[in-house]
């Protein structure tokens, strides 16, 4: 390989750094906020290390119920989408060649239709069917899970079909013919030869379908009825005011994703190692017995470290008590605030004294010592560290007069503020 000039290599490294920062930076930031005791997801100012958001997450009924419904919807969507996708892809290989491209366009169209439209049309369609069949308004055809599964599968099945089509393109139809020639029925040939070949595509389209279903919002928002899935719950929560339980959830999801990816990588590398050695997988990698399991497989090492770190963190969380640190932090903050108040009061007193001593002057206001300028104050304080704490509504006591302009913005995030709105919104 030709060695690149230094500036190109540096540029490349910079580009990669920026690219990955853009890609995973937000995830990392969000994950860290799950461990900050501040009640708004934030890193700066860092208050106190805490694990409190995790138990809080697991005791939040709405989130748990949302998770449960997401899993239900995901499960049935996977089953429906994968089977429809498989059927659609097989059909594509069977259909009369002249019709093929038309058929392909039709079956791929749901991907291009906005999810919102799919959501609304699913709702309208099944309500109509329900009416025609003369069922009551709370029949199974109007069930939120049923509608969400059907609505999501409409386009997720198309994704699955694309995965199957890609795999089928590499299928040698000669294999099916060979099976038939050896006396198999069409069903036997499909089950024993073609289906096993499609197994990897089934796995990946299942994962794809589940993820697409799990994260779906814009179709489900119309179809969920009483069964708010996780994404719906989260979006409602954002409107009511977010706290780091969401970060905790994000952190758990990120960890599960990384874990899944690592396990997959470990398995791929095991198979590769076995292939390179020309021996069965278990023999080369020693089954799951260390140290052979780790030998020559960096992914396995990373997986081991990852699991180890998880165990350590969980163990640490059991014994760690943030209360003293929190107390210290609160005391410290109080002291700072006290000082600030005192400083302001002192300044005010100084000014009064000055005025009394020198007497009024014409150009005095123009000189603008700055303390009294409302314009400067409203901007300058926005960036003050404790500013956001107050915005999030943790501060019960607010120093009066520090920043009158800020209040209008800060109030939006005040928790009691949202509680007032919440009961009205809950109706839908």
């Amino acid at each position: 390989m030709i060695k690149q000039p230094l500036y190109i290599r540096i540029g490349l490294a910079l580009y990669l750094f920026m690219f990955f920062t853009y890609l995973i930076g937000p995830l990392i930031l969000m994950s860290i906020t799950a461990f900050n005791s501040a009640s708004f997801p934030q890193i700066t100012p860092w208050e106190v290390l805490t694990f409190e958001w995790f138990p809080k997450l697991f005791s939040d009924d709405r989130i748990l119920r949302g998770l449960k419904y997401s899993l239900y919807v995901g499960f049935f969507t996977v089953i429906l989408s994968v089977s429809m996708g498989l059927a659609g892809a097989l059909m594509l290989t069977q259909i009369w060649p002249k019709l093929r491209s038309t058929y392909y366009t039709i079956i791929i169209a749901p991907i291009l239709v906005p999810g919102v439209v799919i959501g609304i049309s699913t709702l309208v369609f099944w309500a109509e069917i329900n009416r025609i069949l003369g069922f009551s308004a709370d029949s199974y055809l109007q069930n939120g899970i049923f509608l969400s599964v059907l609505g999501q599968s409409t386009f997720i099945a198309s994704y699955c079909m694309l995965v199957f089509v890609a795999r089928l393109q590499r299928y040698d139809t000669g294999l099916t013919e060979a099976a038939l020639d050896l006396g198999a029925t069409h069903l036997q040939a499909f089950r024993r030869i073609q289906l096993p070949f499609l197994a990897p595509a089934m796995a990946s389209s299942s994962v794809l379908a589940f993820l697409a279903s799990f994260e779906n919002y814009n179709t489900t928002i119309f179809t969920h009825q009483k069964f708010a899935t996780l994404t719906i719950v989260l979006s409602q929560k954002v409107r009511y005011g977010i706290d780091p339980t969401i970060s905790a959830l994000a952190f758990i999801i990120v960890c599960l994703t990384v874990l899944g990816a690592l396990i997959h990588e470990v398995r791929t590398r095991r198979v590769q190692l076995a292939l390179a050695n020309g021996a069965p997988v278990g023999a080369v990698t020693g089954g799951f017995k260390a140290p052979k399991f780790f030998a020559g497989n960096p992914a396995a090492v990373v997986l081991g470290l990852f699991v180890g770190a998880a165990v350590l963190i969980i163990g640490f969380a059991q014994v760690y008590d943030p209360a003293p640190a929190k107390q210290a932090y609160t005391d410290q903050k109080r002291a700072i605030q006290k000082k600030a108040i005192e400083a302001i009061q002192q300044k005010a007193r100084d000014k009064v004294r000055e005025r009394q001593m020198k007497g009024p002057k014409v150009f005095e206001t123009k000189k603008g010592t700055g303390t009294g300028s409302p314009g400067k104050d409203s901007f300058g304080s926005v960036f003050k560290p404790n500013n956001l704490d107050e915005a999030a509504g943790t501060k019960k006591k607010k120093p009066v007069g520090v920043n009158p302009g800020k209040g209008a913005f800060g109030n939006i995030w005040k928790s009691d503020n949202l509680d007032k709105v919440a009961p009205k919104e809950k109706g839908n």
Binding site: G174, A178, A179, L180, D181, L182, R192
Partner: protein
């Protein structure tokens, strides 16, 4: 070997839309024969095989296997097993599972299948390879597994589609003998497809030579070689020197042909061409390189050719002499090395002679392009 099952193609046409892939094929294959279809790429050999095994329905005509009309029977209902051009071993199954797939679909127990697999693996000398995947085998081994898998189905007719074309030369020669031995042992009818005339001639009891969509001649290897029915067969099977001309006279199964550049040549009218030549017709005379000799004094003028040596090759058992006749006519002569023969200098002027019974004449027609 009359125990095997005969296969008959009767007036069979195969079409893809308007395209005629096989035109009016009539073939009788004796039970227990090793029968080859020989023809260039794209002439319709695979198509015929697929029709026999049931993947294609003929547009017209019949296919009989053991006297039974196969019309409407699918590939899984026919007593045939096909060895695919690319072998089509099942990549996700172990070798022994591949071999006994036909038993599996009939519901045989795993024990039974394993036992039969071991017998067949012994037969193909791969005894301890049963638990491997096909991808872990070499080309020749895969070949043998494909044969074992087909034989395991106990077919009456084994169909082989250019099974050796993917192998290297040495292995190909070895597998020729092996295939022929297997066929003798199991005694069933083999229908073998190849574009390699060496394979067809050495292995087969009978050969059908195919031109595009048409079967030109059916016969033993010797008759196809020595007694070609058409100009295509004469030019396709083996090397041949070809002379164009017009029939001047016919007598006692021989024709005198007045050629454009080489004068009058006397040649035998082949069995297949008998009755198809009349005086004045365009004809082609074919003389094998080994049919040409250095002329003796007694040679008649209509079995003599004058030519100049261009260059010679020594091949050990023989000399190949490349010659140029009148008006640039190219010829090749092969002389057996008996010790006394010598290489001719380029430019040497020779008079050649041939035996009129070894030269053949057929109506002018299509030539193999190779």
């Amino acid at each position: 070997m009359s125990s095997g099952v005969a296969v008959d193609l009767q007036d069979m046409w195969i079409k893809f839309g308007d395209f005629v892939a096989v035109r009016d094929a009539n073939v009788h294959i004796n039970g227990g024969d090793f029968f080859s279809f020989l023809g260039g790429s794209g002439c319709g050999k695979t198509t015929i095989l697929r029709a026999v095994s049931g993947f294609l329905e003929p547009a017209d005509g019949k296919i009989l296997i053991g006297g039974n009309d196969m019309k409407g029977k699918g590939p899984n209902e026919r007593p045939t097993a096909l060895i695919f051009q690319n072998l089509a071993l099942f990549p996700l199954m172990k070798v022994w599972e591949n071999i006994t797939f036909s038993m599996e679909v009939r519901g045989a127990s795993a024990g039974e299948r394993r036992k039969r697999a071991d017998e067949l693996l012994d037969m193909i000398a791969l005894s301890d390879q049963g638990d491997k995947l096909p991808s872990e085998l070499s080309g020749g081994q895969k070949q043998r597994v494909a044969i074992a898998r087909a034989l395991c189905a106990e077919p009456d007719v084994l169909l082989l589609d250019e099974p050796l074309s993917a192998l290297d030369l040495g292995l190909r020669h070895h597998m020729r003998t092996e295939l022929r031995e297997i066929q003798k042992r199991v005694g069933i009818t083999f229908i073998y497809i190849t574009h390699d005339q060496g394979e067809a001639l050495t292995m087969s009891d009978n050969v059908a030579v195919m031109r595009t969509a048409v079967i030109d001649q059916i016969g033993s290897g010797k008759s196809v070689y020595d007694d070609p029915s058409t100009s295509f067969v004469a030019s396709f099977v083996g090397m041949n020197n070809m002379f164009r001309g017009k029939v001047k006279s016919i007598s006692k199964g021989q024709a005198l042909v007045e050629t454009n550049r080489t004068g009058n040549l006397l040649a035998r009218i082949t069995t297949g061409a008998t009755g198809k030549l009349a005086v004045g017709d365009d004809a082609m005379v074919f003389i094998r390189p080994e049919g040409l000799h250095i002329a003796e004094k007694s040679a008649k003028s209509n079995t003599r050719i004058k030519a100049n040596v261009r260059h010679s090759e020594f091949e050990g058992t023989s000399y190949n002499v490349f010659l140029e006749g009148d008006a640039g006519k190219e010829m090749k002569m092969s002389l057996v090395n008996r010790g006394e023969a010598r290489l001719y200098e380029p430019g040497a002027e020779l008079t050649l002679q041939f035996d009129a019974t070894q030269a053949v004449v057929v109506p002018a027609g299509e030539l193999a392009s190779e």
